[in-house]
Subunit: 293 residues, 2 copies
């Protein structure tokens, strides 16, 4: 059985570290970091995510400012909301929960968030600096940063290793590939058009699965001893559960657990790290704003 | 013997296409595209590159505006030069020849170029949009764009193929990896920290060599039948030449030419394409500015 990478425990440690930092910030400048969350519409998943993020803020002493806008909100109204938060000195991070309704241009909204408050790290300037060597993005997107943090805190060496990233989304696959490259891994990015996915994935000393397909990765996709980070959070029907479903990753955990060297569980792997990294980004932003970094 | 990908001929075709377009633009609005080149100091290579670019402009009817600044120029002076060119309506593209002297912050200069005139494509916003799926950068960097154009005009299919990029520089390796990924290749990025480079490179149906080391890639690095794009331009001593040196690529051409399916020569491969793509970007920028695109 592979060693479990306990994302929940690692995230709890990080949150504790941030809590201490927030207290220090408050002691030093009499102010705390502030995160603004913006929720458009009432999707169940988005509502849950935003609630979890706000609760996490509260626990570490970060102030959260919440705006709810109706599904029907116009792009202009949402833009003025972002502008208002950009101008608010109590706000150090702005998180517009995705996805947005179809009638709103997501790119335009994300580009309107001040680079200095872009704690999700999705502004093109942040992504551009993340992509380029010898540039420092103001923020690294939370889930990819969480993946790297899991590896680092599990003492997994990255340099010179072959890292396979399954999936190339803007929010996970692409940025995590760039982060692995900057840490001197040989990086393979594979996806739906890749031929013979199992044998490509089997090259990875590190495998990051971020494709959003339940239990897709089987044991013969994994190099024996590989470190597997499962970013998928997929719900599948489960009659034995009260609510009728359960969450599984992109990796078939039971099938794979004996072949990997280490693996993250789902839930309790990358999920908690995403929120911990959001708090980290928000805290870093406040320190910068207060001249403490 | 592999089929030669004749970059010089393909570039000549593209330049002819641009020449026709420039004439049409002039006929339509009474103005021509304009490229501003900025040369700091007097490095021999940079001086040559800038001269070649200006000459290429002249040949297709693009007006070129040249600024030469001494090696000792201050960052502020260079910035005001960029600002002046940003504001000049006759200038549709600004090219600050790299590398810059050590006392100047290259990142700051490149970020100061208006995104609308960033024909080199190195502004972080352009790189960020290049990295992200479903975003359209205003400009794609010239050498990477040239590599893709060589593949496309040689009828090499990219989708589903394994593309290996050797090197991860901001100006070639990284952006060409992103372009190949967007065209649905499985992309492997390898570099100086990669273990067993020959066997990694040998996976490539397409191999892009962009590492800047003379004749590094040998025949056992190449998958039989692979398409090899050699971006290296390295000068090595050659007593048989008048000037005492000759140019070679990153790929040992003579050693490899029988194993590849197609290969670009050096010189005459990617080099001429870089300049052709600069003209292309400049022409596209002018069309956008004139409302013709």
């Amino acid at each position: 059985m592979a060693k479990l990478i306990d994302g929940k425990a690692i995230a709890a440690t990080i949150r504790e570290e941030i809590k201490v930092e927030v207290r220090k910030i408050e002691a030093s400048v009499g102010k705390v970091p502030g995160l603004a969350t913006v929720l458009v519409g009432s999707r169940t998943d988005s509502t849950t995510y935003v609630r979890m993020k706000r609760k996490a803020c509260e626990e570490v002493g970060i102030e959260s400012f919440h705006t709810e806008l109706p599904e029907s909100v116009s792009e202009e109204e949402l833009l003025s909301c972002v502008e208002r938060l950009n101008a608010d000195p109590a706000v150090h991070g702005i998180l517009v929960q995705l996805p947005l309704p179809k009638h709103i241009n997501e790119e335009r909204i994300l580009s309107a968030i001040s680079v200095e408050k872009d704690v999700d790290g999705f502004h093109p300037v942040n992504i551009g600096k993340l992509a380029m060597k010898s540039r420092t993005p103001r923020f690294v997107p939370c889930t990819p940063r969480g993946c790297i943090e899991l590896l680092v805190r599990s003492n997994v060496s990255i340099e010179g290793k072959c890292a396979v990233v399954l999936g190339r989304s803007n929010i996970v696959g692409l940025p995590v590939s760039l982060l692995l490259l900057h840490r001197n891994a040989t990086v393979i990015v594979c996806h739906s058009k890749t031929q013979d996915l199992p044998s490509v994935c089997r090259q990875g000393d590190i495998l990051i699965a971020a494709v959003g397909r339940a239990n897709m990765v089987k044991r013969d996709w994994i190099k024996p001893g590989a470190v597997v980070i499962d970013v998928g959070i997929n719900s599948i029907p489960d009659a034995s559960k009260k609510n009728g479903y359960r969450l599984v990753g992109d990796v078939d955990f039971d099938d794979c657990k004996d072949v990997c060297g280490m693996i993250t569980p789902v839930p309790g792997g990358t999920g908690p790290m995403t929120i911990a990294m959001l708090l980290r980004n928000c805290c870093d932003s406040a320190k910068e704003a207060f001249g403490l970094s």
